[in-house]
Every structure is written in structure tokens, then in C-alpha cells.
Symmetry: C2
Subunit: 432 residues, 2 copies
């Protein structure tokens, strides 16, 4: 294997820079493809074509719920996977002398919300003051393309990783993680995984595990004018009653934070997000139904089953305090994230490789953090015994209006990834 | 004109009874036709055919917003009227010696809500223990058919009203009243109107005027996990804040009830009904938007403009107490009912005719009431100087699950209507 000398390191960094205009253009092309849930397929076609034209072996398959629903880490789904394709581009090393690596990123983006609130079209990746705008520009198309571009940089100087590298573009990171799980089910394994989520160029030490649940509340519909008699029950008002009761459970779960190392210093690790509500059919009828959706989270090591039981018991107890709800108990259903928390452990060698790469690029030591968000890292760490590094560029307003990614951070993160690949996998001459 | 002797009254009552099986079947056929907003047209076709086969002159026309939007009593609309047809069947009297009459009923029904909660299909008009079930069975297809059947009873004994009678089947009673308004705009006028709304066989003395408004609330979307930092604003939570503030306005409006005669004894005349809510796109994003719909009401004589101004000022004041809403003021829009209240006045002769008819059928004096609901009566009373009698059968669960109408009350109300027509219009021999 070619030795990773200071001179070679410099050549790798320069190769990233030399390719950065093309990388930026590639990122912009990808941002232009809306890839919200259920609509990821064309963006995946784009990724498949990019992998193919570089000579990677392309594996594109539709996710089959039957093939994964029994696996640990599976989240329930309430939508069709008819159009949900994963794409993996594989570099299979000639020498197999180095360590293998999964470079993973997700293609799915969250909904854009009211368009009027965006300064520009969310799928117009204009660059303003060094930031590329667009839904998914940060979370995480820039990271997905950075993996490809880091490999391109090595190729540009005639090199390739000396271990297998699997470039994974997955769906469903924002709601279940079932895309990453399907990669595991398909047999993809490596000595480490790397996920450039836009959570800043720092090492993610720990993450919570999001859970989604929906509470379905009944009402007793009556003519609006009759409701004063005590007849009828307003399902929206009953839902508000439960929503406000749930504040207490959020407080309780955050009060435990120091039982979980890495989260003791976090100001509020477990966020109960009231993300969606819908109820009623007619302004002049007492609403017969209301459903609301919450995203909560658990700490690493915390049992999902126990968390679900606690939520259900809490909702039932709150409902018991209301005469109507006591007789018409709300239902709690699960229709997305059912994710365990994750803590990066037993990853000394991967961390050392990242630390060396980061210091070379940024000229300062690598810092680390724990996050109240989640990534697909948990699948590799928890269910495949594979250390999963999360480290990525700087994003402004992920999930918000005017999402944007800092291109200078993208450039540096790409350099770090390229050096990390070289460190971790070793290098070999590129196949002719 | 044939004299309305006790013997003739008896013949009329018997004729209603003789036709009641056919009337019940006709009502069932109409209930089978779903006629929710935007879907009334086929039920209107049915009515037009029933009027035509009896020899009434049928006028069927599509409501034209341009033709009515400038008229008093118009309510703003947020839907298409492409399929919104009114139908009038006219009996034009040969002698013109009697007083004329509008018999009005609405074809539109409110949404059914979750089907699982109905004991049977809402459009299956089964008869159980003397009650006909079905959405609209009470509100108000039984009344609409009762008008036709009362006329049929007179025809069956060779008689017809000696004044013009306009059988009106109108749309949009449940949301705007623009159907009735369109009848006025088309020129239909009479000496009295009669509306058999299923508010019991009593005389409605006064009704409130419903108003619909929608509050549109913005949020500041962020990743759910970041919301603890104070960044972001949850539009659903902000909407709940405003909803709860509005309780105070409801209390204030009800505290005034004794300023309005007929409502002083009503327990709660002005019902603020939180009828609909929708917000957020994604459980793991802080929601960027939420809208909620309320139905409120004003007293007879109360200015709608002043009521709107009061609502808007109240919402603005509540918003000013929240730092985010203060900078992002919620919008209040109007998308339906903008109805004045109505009080039946200067209607001594029509009341006397109803009283006589009711006493003959029910054997007891006519009672009266004021309602916290509304009917199309306001159009005739307020904008056409026409006394409008509201008097109808007994309905269980209007707007609710398992709506049903009491058939015995339908029979008696039909008898009352037939006698009322005879009293009010006088009678003539039926045209050959």
C-alpha cells in the first residue's frame, strides 16, 4: 500500500480542492431533486447514475417491509414503500489489505412547510455569501455528495481505498431508519461506518432515540349550538387537554438526564415535539375526532418497550381525569421512529483516524458532543457491532425555512473524509 | 274558495295519513343521496324530478357568486359553486285569491365524521323503533319532503292553494345561507315563508347569527431537537394559546345575553365552537403553521362588522402577549357563515295560522323558543320583509352520529303544514 506520507496527505487535500467546483455543482443538482418521503426515487436514480459512471457496482433495490420488520431497530411504517429505493455503490478493493468502510448518507428530506415563508424556492440551490440554500442542502445532500467527492479526490490522484467501501444512499432516515436497516438486512458490513450528518465538524459521542406516536382522540359530535347542554364532547379540546398533560412527562424524562452519561450537561435532551395535529370536519359541528403526533426520545440504553408503556400509562391516567375520555380512552399508535439511543464505544481506532484527519484539516483538536437528535449511526453501532462515526458540515436551519449549508465547511469536511478513508482503509493503486 | 270547515280539515289530515307511507319512502330515497357540501347536485336532481312529475314549474339554476355577493346576508365562500344548484318548484295559483307562501328546506347535510362510530351506514335510512336513521334524515330532508307531501295531500283531495306556493330546495344552509339568498336574488317573493327545520314542533321566535372564522398561525420551524434552545416557535402550541384565550371572549359575549330579549333565559346562547384544526407537516419538525376554525354567533340586531372587529382585536391582543406572535400576528379570515341574528316579528297572522293548525293536530297550545342555532329564515325576515315560520319535526343527534328523525313527529308536522297552507293560502279546486 502507498504510504500516507505528509506529501500524499497534501496531494489528497489539494485533490479535494481541485474537485470542489464539480462537487458543488453535483450537490446543487441533487438539491434540485425534491426527495420528500415517498418521492425519493428520482434523486436515488441520480445517485445510482453517479455511482455507475464512476465504475462502482450499483445495487438498487426497493425496500421490502417483509424482509426487515422482524429485525431489531425496525420502526413501524404507515406509508407505502412502493417507491422507496435504496442505492449502494460499492468499491471492491483489489488488494483487500485495508479495513472496509461504509459511507452512509440519507436522500430523504423533510417537508418544506408553507412556501411563502421561504426567501427562495426550497429546491433552488442558490449560493449566497458562501452558503448553499435549499431543503436538504444541509440535511444531508451535501454530506452524501461529500462522500462521493472524497472518493473522487483519491481517484483523481490515481488511488483507491485498499479496503471495500460501500457508498450508501438511503431513504427513510427522517422517519424510521428503515433504509439503513435494509442495508444491513441486505448484508452490507464493514469495519466502520461514517455518516456526514450536518451536526458540525465534531465527533458525535451519543444520540437519543426518537420515537413517534400518534394519539387518536374521539369526540361526541353534536350540533355546535347544542354543546352548552353538556351533550357532546369536543375531540380537539380533549386532545389539547392531553397535549398539555404530556408536558409533565417531558419534564419527568428530562429530570433523569444525569442517569445517562453524555447527557447530564445537555440543557434538554428529550424534546417532546408536538409536530402535527388534525381534527374536525365542519366548523359548526362539535368535532368527532382529533389526532396529534408527537416526537419524543429515549436515552441510550433505555428500553423502548418501557418507554412506550410509560407513555400509554400516562395518557391513560390523564384521560381518566376527564369524564368523557375515561369512557372513550384515547388510542396511542406508533407510525414511525421507534429508535434506540446510541453511544459510540469501542471505536478507538476509528476515532484516532478521524482525530488525525480533522486536526490536519482544521488545525485544531477534534471536539465531541451528544445530541438530542438522531442519525442512522445506531444501526451500525447497535445491530452490526460496527463503530459509526458521525461528523459533518455546518448547516443553518435544518428542517426550517431557508435551510442552508456552509460550503467552506463542506470543503473541509470532504478533506477530512478523504484523509479518514486513506487512514482507515489504506490506499492502493487505482484499478485500470 | 272552498271553506276550511272542520270536515275539510279532517279530510286534509286523513289525506296526509293516507300518503304517509309514500312520504316515508320518498324521504328514504332522498336520504340515500349523500348531499354534503359540493355534492348536492344529484339530490337536487331528485327534487327537481319530484317537483316536475307533480306539474310544478321547475326552476333549477347554478348559484352565481357574482349575482349575490353584493347583497345583504351574503357570506364569503371559499369553495367552488360549480356544482351548487338550487331547485324551486312553483305552484302558481289559478285564482290568486289567497296569500302566497314559500316552503323552504335545505338539501345540504354536514359531514358524517368517522364512519366507524355510526351504528349503520349514514346513508342507509333504516327505520328502527319509529325513527328513520341517516345523515340528513332530520336535518332536514324529512322537512323538505314534508312540504311536498303536504301539497300532495291537498292535491289528493282535489284541492290546491289559492295563492302561489314556491317549494324551495336550497343548498348551503349549513355554511353560508347563500342558497336561500340566491332564491331572493332570483326574485322569489311571497307573503310568508315556512321552514320545517327539525327544531321540534314549536315556533322559533328568535335565532342567533353564526359566524365562521379561521385563525391562521405561523410558527418558526426548526429541527425538533433544537427547540429547547428557544429557537423556533411551535405554531400548534401558539394556536392552542389563542384558542384558550378565546374562552374569555365567549364568556364576555354570553354575559350580555339579557340585553337581547328572548335570549335572557337561554343557558348559553353564544357558543364558540372549535370545529376544526390542522397544523404541521412532520412529527420531527417544529410545526410552521396551524389553522383553526371557529363558529361563533351574534344576537339579533348585533352588528356583524362590530363582532368581526371585536374578534380581530381580541386575537391581536392575545397575540401581543406572546413574544413570537407579537412579531408574527395571526391572520383572521372569514370563509363561511356571516349571518345576522333574526327575530320573528310582525307576523301575527302567520302565527295565528300556525297556532290553529298546530292545536288541531297536537291538541295542545303552540309553544315557542329561541335557539342558539340558525336557519335560513333570516333571509326572508331581514331582507325581504317576509315573516318566516320555523317549525319542524323532532330530530335526534343533528350533526352527530346516528342522526335520526321521529316519524310520528314528521307525520304530525306534515299535517300541521298542510293545514297551515290551507289556512294561509286558502284553497281552490285543483287545475284539471
Amino acid at each position: 500500500m502507498p504510504e500516507l506520507t505528509p506529501a500524499l496527505r497534501q496531494r489528497i487535500l489539494q485533490a479535494v480542492d481541485a474537485g470542489f467546483a464539480a462537487q458543488t455543482e453535483l450537490t446543487a443538482q441533487l438539491v434540485r431533486l425534491p426527495s420528500q418521503r415517498g418521492e425519493e426515487a428520482t434523486a436515488q436514480d441520480f445517485m445510482a447514475a453517479r455511482y455507475a459512471e464512476r465504475g462502482y457496482a450499483v445495487d438498487r433495490w426497493r425496500i421490502d417491509v417483509e424482509a426487515i420488520h422482524h429485525l431489531p431497530g425496525f420502526s413501524p411504517v404507515a406509508v407505502s414503500y412502493d417507491n422507496a429505493y435504496n442505492v449502494v455503490g460499492a468499491h471492491r478493493a483489489r488488494s483487500l489489505k485495508g479495513r472496509s468502510l461504509i459511507l452512509n448518507g440519507h436522500i430523504d428530506v423533510v417537508p418544506v412547510g408553507p412556501l411563502a415563508q421561504w426567501s427562495r424556492d426550497p429546491y433552488d440551490p442558490a449560493i449566497v455569501d458562501g452558503w448553499m440554500h435549499g431543503r436538504g442542502a444541509g440535511d444531508m445532500k451535501s454530506g452524501l455528495v461529500a462522500c462521493l467527492s472524497a472518493m473522487d479526490a483519491l481517484a483523481a490522484i490515481g488511488l483507491a481505498p485498499a479496503g471495500d467501501v460501500f457508498l450508501q444512499s438511503v431513504v427513510e432516515e427522517e422517519c424510521t431508519g428503515n433504509g439503513a436497516l435494509a442495508c444491513l438486512a441486505r448484508g452490507y458490513r464493514a469495519d466502520a461506518a461514517f455518516i456526514p450528518e450536518p451536526l458540525l465538524p465534531m465527533l458525535m459521542r451519543a444520540q437519543v432515540g426518537p420515537m413517534w406516536f400518534q394519539v387518536q382522540v374521539e369526540g361526541d359530535p353534536q350540533h355546535a349550538s347544542a354543546a352548552f347542554t353538556g351533550a357532546g364532547a369536543n375531540a380537539i379540546q380533549k386532545a389539547i387537554f392531553l397535549i398539555q398533560a404530556l408536558d409533565e412527562l417531558e419534564t419527568r424524562w428530562n429530570a433523569n438526564k444525569c442517569d445517562h452519561r453524555h447527557f447530564c450537561d445537555h440543557p434538554h435532551p428529550i424534546r417532546f415535539n408536538l409536530g402535527k395535529i388534525a381534527g374536525g370536519d365542519w366548523p359548526s359541528s362539535v368535532p368527532a375526532w382529533c389526532t396529534f403526533d408527537m416526537r419524543v426520545a429515549v436515552y441510550p440504553g433505555q428500553s423502548l418497550e418501557a418507554a412506550r408503556a410509560e407513555i400509554e400509562a400516562f395518557v391513560a391516567q390523564a384521560a381518566a381525569r376527564d369524564p368523557f375520555l375515561a369512557k372513550h380512552p384515547p388510542k396511542v399508535i406508533y407510525h414511525g421512529f421507534m429508535a434506540e439511543g446510541y453511544e459510540l464505544r469501542n471505536a478507538d481506532e476509528a476515532e484516532a483516524a478521524l482525530r488525525a484527519a480533522h486536526e490536519q484539516v482544521f488545525g485544531e483538536p477534534l471536539r465531541e458532543y451528544a445530541t438530542s437528535a438522531a442519525t442512522d449511526a445506531r444501526f451500525y453501532g447497535l445491530y452490526a457491532d460496527t463503530p459509526a462515526i458521525v461528523y459533518g458540515p455546518e448547516c443553518r436551519m435544518p428542517h426550517g425555512y431557508d435551510e442552508a449549508v456552509n460550503l467552506e465547511s463542506v470543503r473541509k469536511v470532504t478533506q477530512t473524509i478523504a484523509l479518514f478513508i486513506a487512514e482507515w482503509c489504506g490506499l492502493e493503486e487505482r484499478r485500470a
